[in-house]
């Protein structure tokens, strides 16, 4: 902490040297003060950048967040000269698109707010500022568009954040785990995104967007399960392409969840399902494998997860080596050594690739884990086990809510109109209403007809 005293003008300046922008401090505060005569000080301090602060707590908080405190006679003022380290607006790493805006949120909530304000130039865009964390005092901003938003959702979200008592929050995902409807569930119940265009579209559709200072991701709520399968890319392409990619993602979901499990179920219990032309190939590739299909599949699945995790932790340049090592060692050698059958490799690889097609990383991680459950069930009871597992998932999903609204909208409750923008991406002129889950008081979003 720096304490400067200017005797002749009777001013004390207190600030954290590493939190303030030195240039700004000199230009805005120190220079004018040094040039001013002692009798002008009072008028200087009446300028707008000096906030009269009487509460010592506020004063401490101000200094902690990078402001400079000015003490003059018996008054104390705060000047915003904050310039803490922050990176510039860059590209999104986890949600890349090919066409469309490339900017991404960064760790500075102010920048993030600006990015959103820049996109939505509306006086109805409201921000609720909350503070979370006894120790960290992290700022949380809840954004919504008045008139498009269902008020109880905001009240519910604000209430949940207010009730939260914890010492620290470092990331949006941490906050979400505290405030979502079922924190024990494997499924994320609030959508998170790094993309300002995605967040802006959520706002306009009537959802709430939350920004946590210090985190480059924002969350939006309420969310449905199917929202995790759409990407902003879908809207920037022609609608047929958007629809095709979206259907592809649902296919990928099915493949990820079931491919390896089906392999295990079929090779362990339901040999009669294999067509004759495949039967001998499959039996032959299995014939040298020393363990039952479940263990074989589990080993390979774990291997893929190891590869993925290693690739994610390593710097990009070394990460490529991992790919080569994994591809050759595990793909080729394991088959040649007779540890796995080559058809399993295909199944495991295609289910791994499919899992990366799902745009939301959080959701794709959850789904990858579920895959293991189904795999084990398939090993125990074949198709019966798989269907037991799937029923379990559906039952679990149907009990989930997001801000109290059904997680499975628009499938249950059934809202066929919403399907236009959930299972397919209909032409923009056909999607005339905001998603019904958001209960927007003004549901019509586009009046153009073609």
């Amino acid at each position: 902490m720096t304490h400067r005293r200017y005797q002749d003008i009777r001013i004390d300046l207190v600030y954290f040297g590493h939190l303030v922008d030195q240039d700004k401090l000199h230009r805005d505060t120190i220079q004018p003060m040094l040039q001013a005569r002692s009798e002008d000080i009072q008028t200087l301090l009446e300028q707008s950048q000096y906030h009269l602060t009487t509460d010592s707590k506020d004063l401490i908080k101000g200094i902690l967040s990078g402001k400079a405190a000015v003490f003059h006679e018996n008054e104390s003022y705060l000047v915003d000269v904050a310039g803490p380290p922050s990176r510039s607006v860059g590209q999104s790493e986890t949600e890349t698109v090919i066409v469309g805006p490339h900017d991404a949120f960064n760790e500075d909530a102010g920048v993030n707010l600006a990015l959103l304000r820049k996109r939505i130039k509306s006086s109805h865009l409201k921000v609720v500022k909350l503070s979370v964390g006894e120790v960290t005092k992290t700022d949380v901003y809840l954004l919504y568009i008045k008139g498009l938003n269902h008020e109880p959702y905001v009240q519910e979200a604000v209430e949940r954040i207010r009730k939260l008592e914890t010492d620290s929050i470092f990331d949006t995902h941490m906050l979400i785990e505290y405030i979502d409807d079922s924190s024990t569930s494997i499924f994320p119940q609030f959508l998170t995104s790094e993309r300002p265009d995605a967040a802006a579209s959520k706002l306009v559709s009537g959802r709430i967007v939350g920004i946590v200072d210090g985190s480059p991701t924002v969350f939006s709520a309420p969310t449905s399960f199917f929202e995790f399968f759409s990407s902003s890319d879908d809207y920037y392409q022609r609608w047929i392409l958007g629809t095709a990619t979206r259907l592809l993602r649902y296919l990928a979901f099915a493949v990820t969840i079931s491919f390896t499990a089906l392999y295990v179920a079929v090779t362990t219990y339901h040999y009669e399902m294999i067509p004759e032309s495949l039967l001998l190939t499959l039996a032959e590739s299995r014939s040298r494998v020393p363990f039952p299909p479940v263990y074989e599949a589990l080993v390979m699945e774990v291997m893929i997860e190891l590869l993925r995790e290693a690739g994610a932790r390593l710097p990009t340049k070394i990460g490529q080596t991992i790919g080569i090592v994994g591809g050759i060692v595990i793909g080729q050698a394991a088959v040649q050594a007779g540890l796995t059958s080559n058809i399993l490799i295909i199944a495991v690889a295609s289910s791994a690739i499919s899992s990366f097609v799902i745009p939301s990383y959080v959701m794709s991680a959850s789904i990858r884990l579920i895959r293991f459950v189904l795999l084990i069930l398939a090993g125990w009871w074949g198709l019966f086990g798989m269907f037991v597992g799937m029923s379990g998932i559906v039952i679990h999903l149907s009990g989930l809510t997001s801000l109290g609204s059904s997680y499975l909208t628009p499938l249950a409750p059934l809202k066929p109109r919403d399907w236009l923008d959930v299972f397919v991406r209909a032409p923009l002129t056909a999607i005339r209403q905001r998603p019904s889950q958001n209960k927007s008081p003004n549901p019509i979003k586009s009046k153009n007809r073609k």
Partner: protein
């Protein structure tokens, strides 16, 4: 409330860990691909299984198991003792029956096959003119594994209407239906190969007679609609002229059956058959690009088909086998009581008058006038 799912999951895992048997892991299985049944003079059954082998270390491409026993299930137990693999029948594709057994009746065996839930209703039923086991055990050098060879051949031939597609489902359906009798393709060994030997006609479950392979297409016309087939007709006799023959390809045929219950008890059945196809080969006096010539040829082919059909139906009536399902159509024109009170196969069917109304249409005749 929140603890319930956790407790459930724990119980689930605990019960699952108790484990279970019933695993049928692919490489430990011996998939029976074809089963053959023969009747020995002693009255016992001679059963042969053909099992394709996937093991790259094995010298032979397939395993043959053979046993004699009183029942087919007993034989399975006996055969299971001869091999290191678990015998399973979920991949069974074909069941072949020797001629002697077919004449005695095969329903007992079909019934066993249908009863077993692991056996597909799409398993083919085939009669072998000769000894089925011998044919199955023989290796045909120029052909794939014998079981697969028979299966592929039947499949291909069924697409060309040279034999009907007859599976357990078809056989059982026609067996139970009182207006139609089942059929099955007949094969025979001709030394280095296996050949189609016609279509076996059954009465209930007993093989009665067969239709020669050259007449298979005629049978197909009479049996129902189809969309693919080739027919070669020798018209020399009809025209009393020099050699004249035509080869029709890409045949499409539809069949309609009209029934007229005469007052005097004389039932008349008319088969209305519409055939279209293209001429691939023609030797004879007509100029196909001439419209009236083409008409003449069409009529000649039609009358040729009618002649053949008459002979065929007469033969079937003689053997009292209603393989064309004339009974179903007659039945649909009668009252339930009248139908039940008569003995269709024995009394009425042989006396039914069958007429034919065949029209042939030549769509095209190749790219050469």
């Amino acid at each position: 409330m929140r603890n319930v799912p956790r407790i459930l999951i724990l119980t689930l895992v605990a019960t699952l860990l108790a484990g279970c048997g019933d695993k049928r892991i692919l490489e430990d299985l011996g998939f029976t691909q074809t089963t053959s049944y023969d009747l020995l003079p002693t009255g016992e059954l001679d059963i042969t299984l053909s099992i394709p082998l996937a093991d790259p270390e094995a010298k032979s491409k397939r395993m043959i198991l053979r046993t004699t026993s009183v029942s087919s299930k007993e034989s399975r137990i006996k055969m299971a003792m001869q091999t290191h693999l678990n015998l399973v029948s979920g991949q069974l594709r074909n069941s072949i029956f020797g001629l002697t057994l077919s004449k005695e009746g095969i329903w007992n065996h079909i019934d066993t096959l249908i009863r077993d839930p692991s056996i597909s209703p799409q398993v083919k039923v085939t009669v072998i003119n000769g000894n089925a086991g011998e044919l199955l055990r023989k290796d045909y050098k120029q052909q794939p594994r014998t079981g697969k060879y028979i299966d592929k051949m039947l499949q291909k031939e069924a697409e060309g209407q040279n034999v009907p597609k007859v599976t357990l489902y078809h056989f059982a359906r026609d067996y139970y239906d009182d207006g139609i009798d089942p059929i099955a393709p007949v094969l025979k060994d001709i030394g280095d190969h296996i050949a189609i030997d016609g279509i076996g006609l059954f009465r209930d479950d007993r093989y009665m007679t067969k239709i020669e392979p050259k007449d298979a297409l005629i049978f197909a016309f009479l049996r129902g609609r189809f969309k693919q087939g080739e027919l070669s007709v020798d018209l020399s006799r009809e025209t009393h002229s020099d050699k004249q023959m035509a080869m029709l390809s890409g045949l499409m045929s539809t069949r309609k059956v009209k029934v007229n219950l005469g007052r005097n008890g004389q039932t008349t059945v008319t088969f209305a058959i519409r055939i279209t196809g293209s001429i691939l080969e023609y030797i004879g006096p007509y100029n196909l690009s001439d419209h009236s010539d083409k008409k003449k040829l069409e009529n000649q082919i039609a009358s040729h088909i009618i002649d053949k059909s008459e002979v065929m139906v007469r033969m079937m009536q003689k053997h009292k086998v209603d393989s064309l399902g004339i009974g179903t159509h007659v039945r649909n024109r009668m009252s339930y009581k009248a139908w039940k009170s008569m003995n269709w196969n024995d009394d009425v069917y042989p006396k039914v008058r069958v007429l034919f109304d065949v029209s042939v249409k030549i769509k095209d005749y190749g790219k050469f006038r």
